[in-house]
């Protein structure tokens, strides 16, 4: 009886925009399940872990402690770990949103068929974003496990930081989608990689932003990763501040803007 009611409820939900966004995402789940996807996942997860080990513990051994804005002192590994989490939360959704989406949209022309169904271009974009977000969540979860195992975070801190990681994924997933709509060939991804890598290096990842010269600080301040790191660092080092609300808002805006602009450009490409 209850299941029957639930089934009807779900059935009605299935033919709404939310249901269709979910359906687009489930397509990717189905495809991932049948492709040898685990390898990619493992590589994506290992990268920030290796950075954490080499920078946090390797370089950290020479650097010693870092003094935070509020005067607190933390080990270099503790300083770098939240940033690596942010980077790991960014990488999955960004590359899935850009490369993955590009290959589906332009190379395999997957969505040409999708838009012949009730699914709209916006729902395609949102479904793809949801899928990349799911990937980001897996990376983040794995990375958090490592942090707890290394004693760099407590379980409570991890629970608090996961939503922030999702927010980072949302912003970069949306950005990835948007950039993917501008890309014309596989070669263009080299530029994307370069942009992301420089952002990764200079968003207050390895040094406090205060260490950069003035104008550079402004550029850093504009990057979404900086705001993401502010969030993860604040939450994991228990250094909460009101400005973190602004950081979160910034990420939301970037994600929404990316999604919205991307879906408009997708509509123009698909609905010629």
């Amino acid at each position: 009886m209850v299941t029957a009611v639930l089934a009807t409820r779900l059935g009605r939900l299935a033919s709404t925009p939310a249901g269709r966004i979910w359906a687009v995402c489930l397509r990717d789940v189905t495809a991932a399940h049948s492709v040898g996807y685990t390898f990619l996942l493992v590589v994506g997860f290992l990268e920030p872990v290796l950075y954490l080990l080499s920078m946090g513990f390797g370089v950290g051994g020479m650097v010693g402690e870092v003094v935070l804005a509020d005067g607190a002192r933390v080990s270099y590994a503790s300083f770098v770990a939240p940033a690596m989490l942010a980077a790991s939360a960014m990488n999955g959704p960004f590359f899935e949103g850009s490369i993955g989406f590009f290959s589906k949209m332009r190379y395999r022309k997957l969505f040409d068929a999708t838009i012949s169904t009730p699914v709209t271009p916006f729902e395609v974009a949102a479904g793809e974003l949801l899928w990349s977000l799911g990937q980001g969540a897996m990376y983040s979860l794995a990375f958090c496990t490592v942090m707890v195992a290394l004693g760099l975070a407590t379980l409570g801190q991890v629970l608090a930081v996961l939503p922030a990681a999702l927010l980072i994924g949302f912003a970069f997933g949306g950005l990835g989608l948007l950039l993917a709509t501008f890309i014309n060939s596989w070669k263009d991804f080299d530029y994307l990689g370069a942009i992301i890598f420089s952002m990764f290096l200079f968003s207050g990842t390895f040094t406090p932003v205060e260490a950069y010269p003035g104008p550079a600080q402004i550029i850093v301040w504009l990057t979404p990763l900086y705001h993401g790191i502010e969030l993860t660092r604040g939450l994991i080092l228990d250094a909460l501040s009101l400005s973190m609300l602004a950081d979160a808002a910034y990420l939301v805006v970037v994600g929404l803007l990316g999604l919205w602009l991307a879906s408009r450009r997708i509509a123009r490409t698909l609905c010629r």
């Binding site: 089934a7 059935g11 033919s15 997957l110 012949s116 009730p118």
Partner: protein
Amino acid sequence: MPHVVPVGYRHRVPKPASLIEAHRLVKRFGDFVAVDGVDLQVQPGEFFGFLGANGAGKSSTMRMIGCVSPPSEGVLRVFGLDPIKDGPVIRSRLGVCPQQDSLDEELTVLENLVVYARYFGIPRRVARQRAEELLEFVQLSERITSKVEPLSGGMKRRLTIARALINEPEILMLDEPTTGLDPQARHLVWERLFQLKQRGVTQVLTTHYMDEAEQLCDRLVVMDHGKIIAEGSPRRLIEQYSTKEVVELRFGNLPPETVARRINGRISEHCERHEILPDRILLYTADGDAAAEAASREHPAPSSVLVRRSTLEDVFLHLTGRTLVD
């Protein structure tokens, strides 16, 4: 062989007078006008066809009706609804077999259908059952778990047709459904489309095969450079634009041009209209046997004479010319 028919097709009442209605429909790509003021109506249950050379604007029109391409001008109503405002609702009641298969090559045959069904909000169990029935319907059951990528062109086409039926559409849009199929597969598709027609599914077809159009379509239009230049049932079009019969005359190695010059003037006495091609002369006439006999008495006499009924192909070539368009 038993014909397996997917269950559950239902007539939905009330229906608007025309399922598809277009007035002065225009599609532009930049400065280029692909569809140039098309008027048409498709009635419930009708099998409607588009004929036209490459680039005539058939697919562009189909895509506008399928609500995946906004019209540049004119009025378009599908199920009485506006494709711009009600795209998702219209598309939920359409089945589309596009010119390019656009199957999901990462998925299996079955997954292709089940995933596509989800876009329509069809519950999982129903989707699976329908998918299995449809695969039986297009004789792909043996390949249910294989990946799509290694399938033959004909199998992919049949899968695309099955996919178009997953939501039990009221209108089935078929853009060149049999292009590239071998004769067996083509006949299978024709049978299936005919069965769907008997069940009251409205169908809109484009094709380059005149025999296909003649067999399947109740009514068709011929498009040329984005315009509709003729409209009617296959039989009416033949009556209107061709003669009852055609005589094909061949003259061995003698070029038809030369023959025509020698019997100049008298050709037109034997027929209503004639056409001189590089390899033969065609006589369009109501009485093929009489024309053939008269032609045989000429000098030079034809080396071979064939009398046949006029077909849609004669109409098509008459209307759109023999020169390549694209």
